[in-house]
Symmetry: C2
Subunit: 231 residues, 2 copies
């Protein structure tokens, strides 16, 4: 028979276990990447700059806390978030940290200060214009992430292909680029390139998960649908 004290201890231990899994910068980074799209171990290792063994180890901590799940196909293991609520939890932690820890904002400003043409735009009205379809919206992440979920109306133009596809973009309309979220540099670089080429470009700081957290829908799928839509 469990005493109330024991019961509470057991339960809190489980909650703490989940939190502990989030208590490492590398694991936060892994979850952030996985909230964009499922990925294999090697890909995650490369994107985070860790060794494969170390990455695998962290992934298993996350799996132990039931924050990610793994699918094995042949000798490849693909990890993915255990559910959208995990992404929501990440967003929540970000918000708490942003609003309380002054240095997050300080470092961000310092980082942005070094980049050209990155004056900050009013994000609220930007979101409104995007929702009304009044701008051209670019998803500059790798296409696999686009396919795993993107903002409705966005077209996939991975940063690596942006240069090639410049001519297909309108010069008389505002172009908005977004990527993985406020701490991802892809959209910044895209806006830098676009501005240099004379486009009117702005950056949306939200990523797909922030968009979802606002309560807006997220579009799935990709290549097939896109090709069909063009035809």
């Amino acid at each position: 028979m469990l005493s109330p004290r024991q019961y509470k201890d057991v339960i809190c231990e489980h909650f703490a276990h989940v939190a502990k899994a989030l208590g490492s910068a590398k694991r936060i980074e892994l979850l952030d990447l996985l909230s964009q799209s499922p990925r294999r171990v090697e890909g995650l290792a490369q994107l985070t700059g860790m060794s494969v063994a170390n990455t695998s180890q962290h992934l298993q901590v996350l799996r132990g806390a039931a924050l990610v799940e793994a699918d094995k196909a042949g000798s490849f293991v693909t990890y993915r978030l255990a559910g959208p609520d995990v992404a929501a939890l990440l967003v929540e932690i970000r918000h708490v940290a942003e609003s309380r820890i002054a240095e997050v904002d300080r470092v961000t400003r310092r980082f942005l200060a070094g980049r050209e043409g990155m004056e900050r735009v009013d994000q609220e009205t930007l979101v409104d214009r995007i929702r009304r379809g009044e701008v051209t919206l670019l998803d500059v992440r790798p296409s696999e992430e686009y396919e795993a979920g993107h903002i409705p109306g966005a077209i996939s133009v991975p940063l690596s292909e942006l240069k090639k596809r410049l001519r297909t973009l309108p010069k008389d309309e505002v172009i908005v680029a977004y990527c993985r979220g406020p701490y991802c540099v892809l959209a910044m670089e895209a806006v830098g390139l676009l501005s240099a080429k004379g486009f009117q470009a702005a950056r949306l700081e939200d990523g797909v998960q922030d968009w979802r957290a606002r309560g807006y829908a997220v579009a799935l799928g990709g290549a097939l649908q896109r090709r069909a839509a063009r035809a």
Copy 2:
């Protein structure tokens, strides 16, 4: 000049710092108590069963992560949550853990199995009836917690005083008791007592923070207002 990699590392380190502060059962317990009402170190130590020194140490970890704030009045230090978003974060972690970790549910069932008259009630319809004011709603936490925030319409009947005040409660109406949340035993014990005395009693599993997380208002203050309302 910060490289994107360095920038991301620094930012993630801060997020992880917040999560790490949540990564201990004792600290979760402290935050849970503080989400009910501000408290002094000694009170927290007593409620959690920790030594005062240890409690103070944990509180400072939480303060280092900007999750709690402290007010010093004389030689007393009162800690409180840094903001409602911290409570929301706690609720979010609970939800993730509940939905993913089977053992949380298992342990809860086992715990409830040992208690009499604790068949689970449909919480959704209960919430509706409470919102419409169709039931008598008891807040059985200590009165200081009631005063720091309670569900509108609830009356404060601390568990310790319930016996004395039985005669003031209606027998022909359903009585709903709530306390700190799903893992707090106060409301269970209240319902047990009420049932034994022939009342129609039910337990609301939500605490004030869950109620707030549903988007409903929370009433503040206490003794003065209640007396005024009765007069």
